[in-house]
Amino acid sequence: DVKVTQSSRYLVKRTGEKVFLECVQDMDHENMFWYRQDPGLGLRLIYFSYDVKMKEKGDIPEGYSVSREKKERFSLILESASTNQTSMYLCASSRRTSGTTDTQYFGPGTRLTVL
C-alpha cells in the first residue's frame, strides 16, 4: 500500500513564525502536491512538484514556498505565518503516467492553527 505521512496532525503557531510542514511518501512517486482545505472551498492546490528540485505554482501559492530535495520528501514552508493560513493542509503523491489524471494518494492532513 502507498503510504503518505505528514509530520504533524495538529500544529499551533503564532503570527510571524516560520512554519515547516513535512510530507514523505514511500512509493517512489514522481509527483507530489500540497493542498489546503477550508470549509466550503474544497481542496485548493498550493504547489506541486513533478521531480526533485522542480516545482510549479498551483492556484494559491501566495505566502507559501516549497522544497523538494529528495524524491520522497516534499516540504511546505510558511515564511511568516498569518491567521488566514489557519487551515487543514493535505499532502499527496502520484505516479507520473501518460494520462492527464494521476491517481493521488493523500496523507492524513495537518491541521494548522495560527494565533
Binding site: L41, G42, L43, S94, T100, T101, D102, Q104, F106, G109
Partner: protein, 113 residues
C-alpha cells in the same frame, strides 16, 4: 481549464442507491474522470476512474455519456459509513511537465438510518 460542477449536498437513506452527477463541459480529449471520497479528518481516497461509457469496481460504478461532458457516480445500497464528501475531478496539465488535477468543493453525502 477543465473545472467541475457538483451538487453541494445530498441526503439518502441506508440501503438506497445514490447517484451523484458531475458536470465538466470543458473536459479535454485525453482527460480521465476521477472520483475521490473523503471522510472527516482524513485525506481523500481514490474511488473510481473512467474515460468513457461505464466502469464498475467493488465500491461504485461510473457512468460517462458519449459526449463526456458529465459523469455520474453510483453507489449501490449505501450504508451509514458512506457518509462523506465526494469529489469529481478531471485531469489538467499545467506547466513544463507536471500533471495535476483540480478539486472542486465536492458533494457532501449524508446517509440516514
Amino acid at each position: 481549464l477543465a473545472k467541475t460542477t457538483q451538487p453541494i449536498s445530498m441526503d439518502s437513506y441506508e440501503g438506497q442507491e445514490v447517484n451523484i452527477t458531475c458536470s465538466h463541459n470543458n473536459i479535454a480529449t485525453n482527460d480521465y474522470i476521477t472520483w475521490y471520497q473523503q471522510f472527516p479528518s482524513q485525506g481523500p481516497r481514490f474511488i473510481i476512474q473512467g474515460y468513457k461509457t461505464k466502469v464498475t469496481n467493488e465500491v461504485a460504478s461510473l457512468f460517462i455519456p458519449a459526449d463526456r461532458k458529465s459523469s455520474t457516480l453510483s453507489l449501490p445500497r449505501v450504508s451509514l459509513s458512506d457518509t462523506a464528501v465526494y469529489y469529481c475531478l478531471v485531469g489538467d496539465r499545467r506547466g513544463t511537465g507536471g500533471f495535476k488535477t483540480i478539486f472542486g468543493a465536492g458533494t457532501r453525502l449524508f446517509v440516514k438510518a
